[in-house]
């Protein structure tokens, strides 16, 4: 009986198809693939040119790296190529509630696509992940406080207020929005998912906040909660449990739970 339940669950999981989308220069697709594979799903690493139909998948993930050499701006070329190939399909995919996630360069791509913070549908970005104030690539462990009250489907398995260690590795991670009141809106809408903190759990400046992002913001979601981006790499801290038992795995578990219940 027990075996049957476990087997049944396993089969359901293996039916979940995750598209790990890449182009030239993405370099975190293997880690992202493994994160989902270890949880029993059927991920695929798909080059944008080879993607037939986004609706063949239950989840779209854009991994980190230096897509198209970070030319023009980090993530801008990948975003424009996605827009050229499947802008309408992607909007439909999101409107139907399927999850779309971006880590590091993937977050930059989602911002360049105008999907984050996504206050309204636009063909151009309404935010920017700009050069770190230190003007250099910041590569080290960072501490993140989970801020979402439950909107973000990628972090529902993580209690609010928990702190997790997730490594950062980026040169452009400082979140900028056009107006100060846009940040108020982010907080009001429960779109702020992760913020950088120090070891006491308090919002602190550089080096705790590696890029000097406003309000220490490290990750945000859209208004519906199904598009999510963060600069640090949970797929690289998949097994690294903190004292509270939370590791990067929780993010991938959360989104799978959402898909299973959808």
């Amino acid at each position: 009986m027990l075996f049957g339940i476990i087997w049944g669950d396993y089969l359901d999981r293996s039916d979940i198809k995750v598209c790990v989308l890449r182009i030239e220069g993405t370099n975190n697709e293997e880690e992202m693939y493994n994160a989902f594979k270890r949880l029993g799903t059927s991920p695929e690493i798909v080059h944008l040119k080879e993607l037939k139909d986004i609706f063949d998948y239950n989840c779209l993930m854009i991994p980190g790296g230096f897509s198209a050499g970070d030319y023009v701006r980090a993530g801008a070329i990948f975003a424009s190529r996605i827009r050229a190939k499947m802008a309408n399909e992607l909007h439909k995919f999101i409107d139907e509630g399927w999850p779309v996630g971006g880590i590091c360069n993937g977050f930059q791509v989602l911002v360049e696509l105008g999907l984050l913070p996504g206050f309204k549908r636009m063909d151009y970005p309404n935010a920017c992940l700009f050069l770190n104030n230190s003007a250099r690539f910041e590569c080290r462990p960072t501490l993140l406080k989970h801020e979402s009250k439950g909107k973000c489907i990628f972090t529902r398995n993580i209690p609010k207020g928990e702190i997790m260690m997730v490594p950062s590795a980026h040169g452009e991670g400082k979140l900028l929005l056009p107006k100060e009141k846009d940040f108020d809106k982010l907080f009001e809408n429960d779109q702020v998912v992760f913020r950088y903190v120090d070891k006491k759990g308090e919002y602190a400046e550089y080096p705790w906040n590696p890029n000097d992002s406003a309000y220490n913001i490290a990750g945000i979601c859209n208004e519906a909660g199904n598009v999510f981006g963060m600069m640090p790499h949970p797929e690289r801290a998949y097994f690294d449990r903190n004292k509270n038992g939370i590791s990067g795995m929780k993010i991938f578990e959360s989104v799978l739970k959402y898909i299973e219940e959808k």
Binding site: A76, Y124, C128, L131
Partner: protein
């Protein structure tokens, strides 16, 4: 076939801190160029387009800026025909 050249200059909006410019300024000062007050880093794209209609070409380039070359949150830009 006739073509026209257009230059797009992309710079940062006022008030946006430019870590790249600050870093270059620091390095040049270390090389002894003490008089530097400020450095703005700008990017220039020189685009050759087929066609003769300047107005249409300019509109076309404006669209290129909106769709890829510029992030309106941080950038100002200028489109100029190169004679």
């Amino acid at each position: 076939m006739s073509y026209l050249k257009v230059e797009v200059k992309v710079g940062l909006k006022e008030g946006i801190t430019d870590p790249e410019g600050l870093n270059i300024k620091k390095s040049l000062k270390l090389l002894g160029f003490e008089s530097i007050e400020n450095i703005e880093v700008k990017r220039s794209y020189v685009i050759e387009l087929s066609g003769k209609d300047e107005k249409q070409i300019k509109e076309n380039v404006e669209m290129m800026c909106k769709k890829l070359l510029v992030n309106p949150v941080i950038h100002d830009y200028k489109v100029e025909m190169i004679k």
